[in-house]
């Protein structure tokens, strides 16, 4: 997937955090395999992938909590591959927050500064500043267990920020919060990260989180980097079928391509690229329109029969049968038109540009 990694700077020249051919081998399998990733200064990069894809292992190798079996970790030009975690100067926010339960909020936040032998008045000032930054003023003397999940999350963030780390590392920090709080913390973390201009890596399995928060997203699967790119690149120009189906929902249809068109069942679809042989054609459900378009120039079109209709308010989800294959189609709703009923014959149409096609992987 080397061609997919073009989003970063070449060879880590002006990268702040650079992972070079990083690998982690256990006796019987490779958790991370030949991972090269460059993060420019001040950027927030997501490591996105299904569980077990090696994203957390990668984060732990950056933090020094796991040792790399090959490759290098470079921060600001310094090779820290073998440095112990306490010399790495990384702020880590753990999934479980890992707050010290026997210390108050203020003492949790002060811990890193005490370990750095910062003078007492300075510690007090910076702890106050950090607690203010995460809007926890007045909570200084509480114990972690007396705080809500969101508040604990903020303490963890303050504790990581107060040491002014070279890099912030997040390990699925939002997965223990409910949906509303998650959205709130998402914005807040992003805001603080941008305000401080701090370089950060954000591990998540939630693609919406990765797309919404991060400058770039590295999609990982089975220990390998599948694609690194800006959110819009991943979504609109996925490098391979895995990225296409992992980031957002998509219809996957077996087809046979010949030049700039492919045959799905009995229907000829036009493609944007030239391919031959067995391919997979992919179309996102909400890019497909129901109904005939006037001019057919830039569009593909197939007829089908509605099998199932799910009305969820802001949109309608259809299962449409096209020659025995079930396609997912999503339409925004409008008061002007009732959803099509099951059994109705419909025409599906979508832009040629929205038709993705990938050669079958050997």
């Amino acid at each position: 997937m080397r061609e997919g990694t073009g989003g970063g700077a070449p060879a880590g020249e002006d990268a702040y955090l650079s992972l070079q051919h990083l690998g982690k081998r256990y006796s019987d399998f490779a958790a991370v395999h030949d991972l090269t990733l460059n993060v420019p200064r001040g950027e927030l990069v997501a490591l996105l992938g299904p569980s077990g894809c090696g994203k957390t292992t990668t984060l732990r190798m950056i933090a020094g909590l796991a040792s790399a079996t090959s490759g290098r970790v470079i921060v600001n030009g310094n090779d820290i591959t073998t440095a112990p975690p306490y010399r790495r100067d990384m702020g880590v926010v753990f999934q479980s927050y890992a707050l010290f339960p026997h210390m108050t909020v203020a003492k949790n936040v002060a811990f890193g500064l005490q370990m750095r032998n910062v003078a007492k008045p300075e510690i007090e000032r910076r702890v106050q500043e950090a607690i203010g930054m995460v809007r926890l003023g007045g909570m200084e003397d509480r114990r972690p267990r007396a705080l809500s999940g969101g508040q604990q999350q903020r303490v963890a963030l303050a504790r990581a920020l107060v040491i002014r780390p070279s890099t912030l590392l997040f390990d699925e920090p939002l997965s223990n919060l409910d949906a509303k709080l998650r959205d709130e913390m998402r914005t807040e973390i992003r805001e603080i990260q941008q305000r401080l201009g701090i370089t950060a890596v954000f591990v998540t399995h939630d693609q919406a989180e990765a797309l919404a928060m991060c400058d770039k997203v590295a999609v990982m699967n089975a220990g390998r980097l599948e694609q690194l790119g800006a959110p819009v690149d991943l979504y609109e120009r996925p490098a391979n079928p895995f990225v296409a189906s992992f980031v957002g929902r998509i219809n996957r249809l077996p087809a046979v391509a010949h030049g700039k068109s492919a045959k799905v069942g009995a229907h000829e679809l036009r493609l944007t690229s030239t391919l031959n042989g067995e391919v997979e054609v992919m179309i996102r459900p909400h890019r497909i329109a129901i109904g005939r378009t006037g001019e057919m120039g830039g569009f593909n079109q197939v007829p089908g029969v509605v099998k199932r209709v799910t009305y969820v308010g802001d949109l309608v989800q259809y299962d449409v049968d096209v020659d025995g294959l079930t396609w997912s189609v999503e339409q925004p709703t409008t008061a002007a038109r009732a959803p099509d009923a099951p059994g109705s014959r419909v025409d599906l149409s979508w832009r040629i540009a929205d038709t993705l096609a990938f050669a079958k992987r050997a």
Partner: protein, 288 residues
């Protein structure tokens, strides 16, 4: 509405709890509380020659206990020996418990069985084992003499022997108590400390020790109490030359047939336990 339902549930649950607790309360009352009250009463009875217990009320046994410095000596020796053994047991057991806490799978089960296996043999057998190890011509002295040490060292039939033997015998209890108290120890907390710049030793003292303190307190309390009340091991490994509360109670009751005196010493042991319990409760409250 919800409150009313809760109330009914509360009453039901109280009734159930009372019903379930009744048998143990009755058994404890008969085999534990009544004898202790009896013991307390005997300690205020006269000791008659030939092992009799006089019916008259007297302070004599208690006055005797306080006035005779011999008893104070025994009390202090028992307490500091038990405290020392508790500390030694803690130092020997803590690393094992910590390792066990972090181990997983079949390896953990195997180690766990190793730890509790000694409990399957009686303390008497293990104590005789220590005689074979520590005697003048025992394993330890023989091994030391190979290295040219001026042997034999007197490792047995003195306080040293008791300390070595009891430390080993109490270790499984200490390890189990420590493990029971390690619940709050989250490896992520240690990792967080490391990423915040703590060296491993700093992380140990500032994070691991405080988080395992409830286990340490429980284990120490447990071991101290077992140690003060242990009889067989001090009796055998002390060779009758080390006088402790437990051995003294035995002597008074069985050898000199002074039951009121033995009862008084037994109550003294209970007072020591009470003090230990008070200390433990205070430690727990401070930890929270």
């Amino acid at each position: 509405m919800a409150a009313a339902t809760d109330d009914i549930n509360g009453k039901d649950r109280f009734g159930l709890a009372a019903a379930l607790l009744t048998p143990i309360v009755i058994i404890n009352a008969i085999v534990f509380i009544v004898p202790i009250v009896n013991l307390l009463r005997i300690s205020f009875n006269e000791a008659l020659p030939g092992g009799g217990i006089g019916p008259a009320f007297t302070w004599e046994n208690w006055v005797n206990l306080i006035e005779d410095s011999y008893y104070l000596e025994i009390l202090l020796r028992s307490v500091w020996m038990s405290a020392l053994i508790t500390l030694l047991t803690l130092f020997c057991s803590y690393p094992i418990a910590l390792y066990l806490h972090r181990a997983s799978g079949a390896w953990r089960t195997f180690l766990f069985v190793l730890v509790i296996a000694p409990l399957l043999t009686s303390a008497v057998v293990r104590t005789y084992g220590w005689i074979a190890m520590l005697a003048d011509n025992g394993l330890v002295n023989t091994a030391l003499s190979w290295f040219g040490a001026p042997t034999p060292f007197r490792l047995i039939f003195n306080l040293t022997g008791i300390i070595i033997g009891l430390t080993e015998i109490l270790m499984p209890y200490m390890i189990l108590a420590l493990l029971a108290g390690f619940g709050r120890l989250d490896p992520r907390c240690e990792e967080a400390a490391l990423t915040l710049g703590a060296r491993p030793l700093q992380a140990f003292w500032r994070i691991v020790v405080p988080l395992t303190a409830p286990g340490i307190a429980l284990g120490c309390f447990f071991c101290f109490v077992l140690c003060v009340s242990s009889f067989i091991t001090p009796r055998i490994l002390g060779g009758g030359r080390v006088f402790l509360l437990a051995t003294e109670i035995y002597d008074e009751a069985i050898v000199t047939l002074n039951w009121p005196g033995a009862a008084t010493l037994s109550i003294l042991v209970l007072i020591v336990f009470g003090a230990a319990l008070a200390l433990y409760t205070r430690a727990l409250r401070r930890l929270d």
